[in-house]
Amino acid sequence: MHILEKGGGTRRFFLASSALALTLGLAASSIPASAQELTGDIRFSWWGGQVRNDKTDRIIQLFEQQNPGVSITRETADFAPYWERLTIQSTGNNQPCAITMQSRWLATYARPDILMPLDDLVANGTLDVSGIPEAVVSAARGADGNLYMIPHGVFYFALMYNEQMLENAAAAGVQPLVWPYNWDQYADHLRAIQPTLPEGAVATHNMGREPDAFVSWVQSHGEKVFDGSKAAFSRDLAIAWFNYWEALRNEGVTESPEGMVTENSALVEESNLANGRGYATNRPPNQLGSVQTVTNTVNPGATINTRPYPVGPDGTVGMDLGSNGIAIGANCTAEQLPATTAWINFWTHNEEAAAIYQSDNGVVAIPELATAQAENPDTQPTQVRHIELYQQVVDTAQPVFWPAGGYQAMTDVLNRSYDAVAFGQLSVEEGVDQLISELQQQLDQAAR
């Protein structure tokens, strides 16, 4: 995705406006927020389905009730169209004031003429990041080091598995897997469990093509995925990754290459795991509830649980932590800024808002709020597990800095390269060479 360059004069105008807005905003914010009568109309954009839209709307209503002078215009869309629209809006400097942002896409937009740098607003207390883990805040910075969003939810990918299949395997003598387990131990576990599965089921989804699993692999082996806008992992490590999954595939522990592509659907309803055709896969644990719901209908009696990715040979945890948060459009005016910052603070810290949202788009970033949700007897067990696993890995996980276009490029190229290997079109070495060269090509293109 590319942001089209605007004319220099226009950019200077916007930068000047942003600086003016920031100055005026800072002046306005020197008055304590509680003492101010907030007024103004702001636009807030987010992505999501029916349930998330409903929760978001309720939180907006709550904020508007508490701040009668503020009106928030809702702008929602499905995930992919959301970014397309934001890109087009950004070219016209017509972004909403409050923009839901994700760390994986942040680098594409993290420029002062698109998003407002927030460090000064944080430094003078206008924006409140207290309680948010430093690693999560760091992941909200752009390549220029500026803070561009206030994280409110932390997401991560992990492994999901079918507990009943595991119990059956245990009854047949398969040893349980206790974390921290390394990649070889995990592969041995999958090999052991395969013969105990029902006809047609496989022990694992082939994650050779999955960027989140690959990132965990790279980081758990002590390497970086990116260095700025350069691919930083070694060729040997990528070859080892392809070989790891090719070995499992050739042993019949994963699905066929054709099944591997089908299984790649993001929709829970189509997954092998939910349909009882697979023991394990990788998915974000915030899907645990919906995976369990679908499983209850198509594979009654099965329970789905989640566990972390394996660690490296020396015990290093390689999991990436991503965050969703709210950024401020560079075009947000001085009049709109107080209401926008108040809205962000409300969304991030308000207990009632957090209780409504229920970590719908990542575990709530404030640990106390997450603990309160986990301890609330009304919280769904799957949601509790989602929060517990996050708390288990948050201190050791390694958030990846995704360069502009990096996540999309990694997904596209890794999918294509590993598929070519699995379908026998390329050797492992050729597949890895394709991965590295095309990834770098796309990163260079996005960085221009």
């Binding site: 029916q50 809702r74 499905d78 169209p81």
Partner: protein, 298 residues
């Protein structure tokens, strides 16, 4: 010497019966084949219809047609998308845009088509070629400049970018379609009007337009379908959720980013949303087929 052929009437009747039976058998086989193909093609649609009528939790639990438990709950929950946003609002928004787009296209495209088909003016063929050339421009080329233009004149988040271009003969395809039709009308009709003293406007309004009903109906139907199904332009230009249209709203039932999806609501609302297109098509089917047949778009 030629001998007269004699035919046994019984043999002739038997042969006729055999041929008739063979013809019927072929017809039966063909119909069975078509019915089989129809069933294959309709299976997903029928499955969706019944899925909309079964509880959400059972949609993926039972791949059979007939639901064990019948419910209209998906329609109720689907109609109420979230908060106070309902499909009533989305339908009103969609229909307003569709109605204005149809009116705009009928007026502007027929005028432009009349000029290209019946009038002689300098540069006509160059302009016609340029008009046809615009049909080949990918939407991505036009997207950003158009957006910035509409933003600068304050039209973003209104229906104007979706409607006003239609009144300026923006759809080259429909101009071309009507040009083809108008060229097929006899010149004598218009010449007679000229003898009677009719000016350009009168010839267009009183002679050409009434005779172009099939082409106008085709344009109206396709404009409706295209506008009603248009997702991207409506996503880009109508950002406020209260101005959202049906195709944009339908995308909000599923959440591939990890949140909960509502397939029941989606199927129910897709079913409802097919209604206007189907109704419009059925109502204008006769004119539509006539229009297509007479314009060579077979």
């Amino acid at each position: 010497m030629a001998t007269a052929k004699t035919y046994d009437p019984e043999l002739l009747r038997a042969e006729r019966r055999r041929r008739e039976n063979l013809r019927r058998l072929k017809g039966l086989g063909l119909h069975l084949l078509l019915i089989g193909l129809l069933c294959i093609m309709l299976y997903p649609v029928i499955w969706m219809v019944f899925s909309a009528l079964r509880p959400e939790a059972e949609i993926f639990g039972d791949m059979g047609f007939i639901p064990t438990n019948w419910t209209l709950d998906n329609f109720v929950r689907g109609w109420q998308l979230y908060g106070n946003m309902t499909f009533t609002q989305f339908y009103v928004n969609s229909f307003i845009i569709c109605a204005l787009a149809i009116v705009g296209n009928l007026i502007a495209c027929s005028m432009a088509a009349y000029a290209f088909a019946r009038l002689e003016f300098r540069g006509k063929w160059i302009l016609f070629a340029v008009m046809l050339g615009t049909m080949m421009l990918p939407i991505h080329v036009q997207l950003i400049p158009q957006y910035i233009f509409f933003l600068n004149i304050g039209w973003v988040n209104t229906i104007l970018p979706l409607v006003v271009p239609k009144f300026l003969a923006h759809d080259a395809f429909f101009i071309f379609l009507m040009v083809q039709f108008m060229r097929s009308l006899p010149n004598e009709l218009e010449q007679a009007a000229v003898v009677d003293g009719a000016n350009y406007w009168q010839r267009y309004w009183r002679i050409i337009l009434p005779l172009s009903m099939p082409a106008l109906a085709t344009t109206a139907v396709f404009t409706f379908i295209n506008t009603y199904n248009d997702f991207f332009s409506q996503l880009i230009y109508l950002t406020d959720t209260s101005r959202m249209t049906v195709p944009v709203a339908l995308r909000l039932f599923l959440d591939p980013s990890g949140g909960a999806s509502s397939f029941g609501g989606l199927f129910a609302m897709v079913l409802v949303s097919i209604g206007p297109v189907l109704g419009f098509f059925l109502a204008s089917q006769r004119l539509l087929t006539k229009g297509i047949a007479t314009q060579g778009f077979k």
